[in-house]
């Protein structure tokens, strides 16, 4: 069976790569800025690149905030990518304070300008980094989730200056470490998933994550 995936198009960023990764895995993809189509979606993807305020504004001017929030209550699969993941939280402090979609409790803060030893390190966090189970969890934690079949330390591609801080520990599915400091790599709540990294840019491992999303 071919899976139908709806990708939210709200005027910012790079939809093509996300769509290509989905079609590569056999999905039928539509992109839309129509709230009705979002509500009808079987699987919804919220991509995002750029500034938080612009992105939220892009959703607001198209009347998509309510539709996405309503969709999230249906239990159908949802995947936020990068900024799309950050928008799942309550708010962000990126250049001021901005309200998010509030799908997962928590906020978005700037990545620390120093590493764990208080030495300056480079921000944005750009590059490949490894996925780990949150402290106290083992590999079984990823069973039956978006990360099914992945091994600890699988490498994926990150590029971000801000980081999601979910307030509920159970909403963290995978972490990574930058300069020794913890970064939320994947957050989840029921069928809502958010990846800080770009699965569509993370080679075969990213494609596996997309495939898992189609099988949720």
């Amino acid at each position: 069976m071919r899976h139908k995936v709806t990708v939210v198009d709200y005027g910012v960023g790079n939809l093509l790569s996300v769509c290509r990764a989905l079609t590569h895995n056999g999905a039928d993809v539509i992109t839309t800025e129509d709230p009705e189509k979002i509500l009808e979606a079987e699987r919804l993807v919220l991509p995002g690149v750029g500034a938080y305020a612009d992105a939220m504004n892009g959703l607001r001017v198209r009347n998509l905030v309510g539709a996405i929030q309503q969709y999230a209550q249906t239990g159908r699969p949802f995947l936020g990518i990068c900024l799309g993941m950050q928008m799942m939280l309550d708010n962000s402090e990126e250049f001021g304070s901005h309200e998010g979609l509030g799908l997962i409790p928590g906020s978005v803060i700037k990545i620390s300008a120093t590493d764990i030893d208080e030495k300056p390190h480079k921000v944005p966090h750009i590059g490949w980094n490894t996925l780990k189970q949150p402290a106290g969890r083992d590999a079984t934690y990823w069973q039956d989730t978006l990360l099914r079949g992945l091994q600890t330390d699988a490498s994926v591609y990150f590029v971000h200056s801000f980081t999601a801080l979910p307030s509920v520990q159970e909403h963290r599915l995978a972490d990574t470490y930058y300069g020794g400091r913890l970064i939320s790599a994947v957050i989840h709540r029921d069928n809502l998933y958010g990846c800080q990294f770009h699965p569509e840019k993370s080679g075969p491992i990213g494609l596996k994550i997309i495939e898992n999303f189609l099988c949720l």
Binding site: S17, V49, A51, V123, I126, A154, V159
Partner: protein, 258 residues
């Protein structure tokens, strides 16, 4: 452990992958999409396309090449050459690029860096700098493939670019580009230690030791390679293996890929 990204640089002229020496004397090497796919499958971390004639002739054939790349290459793509406005950048991101590399247009109007950074995020604004050595410890910014000079100091420009919102610096040594004589380590070190954003070292990679040196002594965060890959002097496999042996943590770790 030092992180290192390995980047394949593909210079484009019209529909072709080309390669010159010191950005001059171009040879056609073939279909860039074929090369990009080959490097992706071999495990390269990122692809970098530079349309080297676009800013001379004010045209750009790169959009179609990038669009085609996204069909079978699922790693980050940076594209540059001839992009001069927010609209150009938007079009390139829509074509499937993740980042844009800006040189000439930023030199002519530095505020473009802030505009791109504010609109699309600093992570997609790569400031491309063509550096030519003037004297010991001093380099000048060039554009149009090292033909036009600016009297602008490279280190100062890198700092200004970072302050304006660039997310990365692609630093190409015009003197070393295509020569396979090794990177200008002094240049890479000077820039890398003067900005808090990642620096991609380019121009001069000829052998494995060059990579080690530019990372350990030059403090590069990433290495852009063209010549050695396109002419098959080194493979992505050789290079990755060497990087791991030297204790660098490179991007894609094959032991975890299905």
């Amino acid at each position: 452990m030092k992180n290192l990204r390995l980047i394949a640089r593909l210079d484009i002229k019209g529909p072709n992958l080309v390669k010159g020496v010191q950005l001059e004397g171009l040879r056609k090497l073939g279909d860039p999409n074929v090369f990009a796919k080959k490097y992706y499958e071999a495990g390269i971390d990122e692809i970098l396309y530079i349309d080297i004639v676009a800013s001379l002739y004010e045209r750009n054939s790169l959009f179609e090449i990038v669009r085609r790349t996204t069909q079978d290459v699922f790693i980050p793509i940076t594209a540059g050459g001839g992009l001069r406005s927010i609209d150009d950048v938007r079009k390139m991101l829509r074509a499937g690029a993740d980042k844009v590399a800006i040189n000439t247009a930023a030199l002519k109007r530095p505020d473009l860096i802030s505009e791109i950074s504010n609109t699309f995020g600093s992570q997609c604004m790569v400031l491309s700098i063509q550096a030519k050595k003037v004297s010991s410890g001093q380099w000048e910014c060039y554009y149009d493939n090292g033909r036009e000079h600016t009297e602008r100091d490279v280190v100062e420009w890198a700092q200004q670019g970072a302050a304006l919102g660039a997310g990365e610096i692609l630093l190409t040594s015009v003197d070393r580009e295509g020569t396979a004589k090794g990177f200008d380590i002094e240049l890479v070190n000077a820039v890398s230690n003067s900005v808090a954003i990642p620096v991609i070292a380019g121009g001069g990679m000829g052998k494995l030791e060059d990579m080690n040196q530019v990372v350990t002594e030059g403090c590069a965060d990433a290495v852009a390679m063209a010549h050695v890959l396109h002419y098959g002097k080194l493979t992505v496999g050789n290079i990755s293996k060497e990087a791991v042996q030297k204790g660098f943590r490179i991007g894609r770790d094959f032991s975890h890929e299905a």
